[in-house]
Point group: C2
Chain length 301, copies 2
């Protein structure tokens, strides 16, 4: 058995998987804030899972938002968790006495989605959260690239006249196709701002329609980039915005189909047919994190 | 020994490589036009090399401009060679009685550049020819993607107000950063239009300066895209435009350095340090083609 933790800004999603990679136990608890608290809660999640699963774990995997060095388990810029530079992997190992692997949360989710959705071929997991980024899975393993920036497509500019991005560039994909973009362009107090935007657009609000169109074409541009670079077979759309569901998928497919109508080259790529939505309720980041320690046979069924 | 042919629009560049992958013989002859003529000349190149090398070949590799299915050796849309849909691999096998592997010429050049320049890590070969496309090498092998469109970054749009591309989209990288773009934007009768453009720009011509700036930023955008998707360690700039030499490399590095000045994120990627120019005089496509048939040990030294 292996454990995987998805450490989010508010909660830790923890799963235990069996030797076939199937999730068999799950628990959730609050993340807390700051290095000591987050480490203690992560250790409590492992202990709790162990009790539920009545088993020790061969390995623990952690998916965490921040700049992660998988080789050392070091985490930087985890601003939402309240720490900037922490040896998270060895810190947790000291608490739970089992080998710990740490990975960026989007990469962990990519691995989990690949497995739980029984995908094959090269796959990208396109995370539409506060930001926009993709995790890439090739032959069942994460493609991390030369220096760990593979899939950081949110910071590819696609419009010289676009908005200035937090990264300092202008017109990045993230400035139109992310939760942060919606918060900036459609600032309201609502538990689910994207759903509120889509409801307003469905009601005919012209500004909501405009922002929704920007979102659709931004996501479509991300899909086009992933196919024309890595040539992934499938792009799985996940992250907070994916909870909008079919209206998001249909809107992005509509943009891609429109592009195909004016470009036989694009039409030959079948972009609408390559995208799919992450189904609700899958603990992809936690399961993917658990798989970080699994042998190749589990990862490549 | 293995033979590799780079079949260009006007000439066939043919090399023989030894078991260590070192080129030991080279010859060039005219390509001809149309399926029968090109096949006959390709076979003549193999026979000629065989005579020079005083050896039979274990395999023949072919790099060819067009849409290639490496699994079957089928070539489509080879418009410059005068055929549209040809079983080129089996056609050549019938003439030379040795196994033939066929690959897109940019992919073949990527493999050859990786080997001849003794590169390591994931590498992209950015071909600035009539069009713009990249070949990607991972662990010493070509990354072809799910459906053979990996690296087709010339058709990623980066400016909604840009020129209409031959592919039907608007503002593709290829519309500013390719030989075709220079021919359209700076139409003159000259054997080396890019050199003429750079000479005019160096002389202060405002229009030449504007077009050169577009070229620099288009190539820089291509490099940024290759790093933020695949995260290649190096981008080798090759193709006809690369003969401009240092002024091209310096210009692109200048744009990348400028971007880094306004984005600490981009600065952290060290894009200027990741690009290099293909040295003149290397038969990269022919050597890469020859390597298509070589065992992994030769490809991954």
């Amino acid at each position: 058995m292996r454990a995987g933790l998805d450490i989010g800004g508010t909660k830790i999603d923890a799963v235990a998987i069996d030797d076939a990679g199937t999730p068999v136990q799950r628990l959730r608890l609050a993340t807390g804030f700051g290095e000591a608290e987050v480490l203690a809660n992560a250790a409590a999640a492992v202990t709790g899972l162990q009790r539920l699963a009545r088993s020790e774990f061969d390995s623990i995997g952690v998916g965490i938002p921040g700049l992660v060095d998988p080789a050392t388990g070091r985490v930087r810029h985890a601003v939402n968790l309240g720490f900037d530079d922490t040896a998270f992997g060895s810190g947790l190992e000291n608490l739970v006495h089992a080998p710990v692997a740490v990975e960026n949360d989007v990469n962990a989710a990519a691995l989990g989605a690949y497995h739980l959705m029984a995908l094959s071929g090269p796959v990208a997991y396109l995370n539409l959260g506060t930001g926009l980024a993709a995790g890439i899975v090739v032959d069942g393993s994460l493609w991390r690239g030369a220096r760990g920036v593979s899939g950081e497509i949110g910071h590819i500019p696609v419009d010289p006249l676009g908005a200035v991005c937090a990264c300092g560039q202008r017109g990045c994909l993230e400035t139109v196709a992310s939760g942060g973009a919606i918060a900036r362009l459609w600032p309201i107090e609502h538990a689910y701002p994207a759903q509120a935007l889509f409801a307003a657009a469905a009601g005919g609000d012209p500004e909501a329609l405009r922002i929704r169109a920007l979102l659709f074409s931004g996501v479509a541009a991300a899909v086009r980039i992933l196919v024309l670079t890595v040539d992934v077979e499938s792009v799985v759309i996940g992250g907070g915005l994916s909870h909008v569901g079919a209206p998001l998928l249909d809107g992005v497919r509509g943009v891609l189909a429109g592009w195909a109508g004016s470009s036989t080259f694009l039409a030959s790529l079948d972009l609408p047919g390559r995208i799919r939505l992450l189904p609700d309720g899958l603990s992809v980041a936690a399961v993917g994190a658990a798989m970080l320690g699994a042998p190749a046979a589990v990862l490549r069924p």
